[in-house]
């Protein structure tokens, strides 16, 4: 989550490397944009998968966000905010675009059968299974609740940063998280043995 976890006030200490690359990209430096895309792609894809619940749609959303990033590169103003916040807004707008409907990758029952594809320690498989169950349960939540939960638990953002990414107020984010957690808890009640 290198690109995602920059605190907004970090920019006063040192310029974000992503911001430097973007400013070069805005001048037409395709190599800089390639490096920037390499830095952003994986964490952005992980976030989009959590939000959308579908690998194909998530990949599409990240591609869309990177296209916007290239087109809008000249509009980025480091004096007005951090690159991380700006990029998260673009990514969330792409992911929460109404055209992308959540297609759950697996139902809760199917999720119970999910195993870690790579052979490894039993607890790693158990953790992967647990994550898959939460992912399946989260599929029933409204998209903005999933996004708030994902930014909070996945990227460790503060309320203010989540509010900025979702272009809403901190109070609204608080509500999204509370409702999302309550709904998830209820859905996962049947799996309390796994959650112990």
């Amino acid at each position: 989550m290198h690109a995602m976890t920059h605190a907004a006030n970090d920019r006063f200490l040192a310029p974000e490397p992503e911001a430097v690359l973007l400013l070069r990209a805005a001048e037409g430096d395709t190599r800089a944009f390639h490096d920037l895309a390499l830095m952003l792609a994986r964490p952005a894809l992980a976030l989009a998968i959590r939000v959308l619940g579908d690998h194909g749609a998530a990949e599409d959303a990240v591609q869309d966000a990177l296209s916007k990033l290239w087109r809008e590169a000249c509009r980025f103003d480091p004096e007005r905010g951090s690159f991380g916040g700006w990029w998260r807004r673009i990514l969330m707008n792409s992911a929460l675009d109404g055209r992308r409907r959540l297609r759950p990758a697996a139902s809760l029952d199917d999720a119970a059968e999910v195993q870690d594809p790579a052979p490894g320690p039993a607890d790693a498989a158990e953790q992967a299974d647990l994550a898959a169950r939460v992912q399946a349960a989260a599929a029933g939540l409204p998209a903005r609740q999933r996004a708030a939960l994902s930014l909070f638990h996945g990227d460790g953002l503060t309320m203010a940063e989540i509010a900025d990414a979702l272009e809403t107020s901190e109070k609204a984010v608080e509500g999204l998280l509370l409702r999302g957690r309550a709904a998830l808890k209820e859905t996962l009640m049947g799996l309390k043995d796994e959650l112990k």
Binding site: A37, A41, L66, W70, L130, L184
Partner: protein, 138 residues
């Protein structure tokens, strides 16, 4: 609820695991980067990066363009307005500084056109002139 995590540890642990779900798909990441490269290659940047004060520096331009549009509209309106004292039916609708060309009554065709023009003026005037019956009715 601030930035503090909920004390419900079981749900907390499950959400933490979910939050650590990685993309894990190197092929998807490669496709995304390839797509980004293609976008950058096919749609070059046309505008230089904006300076921080871009909007403020260029604000005068929109005012100037708006003022120019208003001035042009006023000038056009003045040009199509009838000149004060111009004979009605001849100069009306004629641009300032031009002379209306009237048919030459000396030729047969000219006389016909002149008569037709006068009939048009007469019929136009008739629209606003009461007939004897209308006057009596009123």
């Amino acid at each position: 609820m601030t930035n503090e995590r909920n004390p419900d540890s079981a749900l907390e642990r499950a959400l933490a695991q979910w939050g650590q779900l990685d993309a894990g798909d190197g092929a998807a990441v490669a496709r995304i980067v390839q797509h980004a490269d293609a976008i950058a290659a096919t749609s070059p940047q046309h505008q230089p990066a904006l300076p921080a004060r871009y909007g403020k520096d260029r604000r005068w331009l929109s005012f100037a363009m708006g003022g120019g549009a208003i001035a042009a509209s006023l000038a056009l309106a003045l040009m199509v307005m009838p000149q004060p004292g111009a004979p009605v039916g001849k100069a009306a609708g004629t641009l300032m500084g031009t002379t209306p060309v009237m048919p030459d009554a000396a030729t047969e065709q000219g006389a016909y056109e002149l008569a037709a023009a006068e009939r048009e003026v007469d019929s136009f005037a008739m629209l606003f002139t009461l007939t004897a019956e209308e006057e009596q009715f009123l």
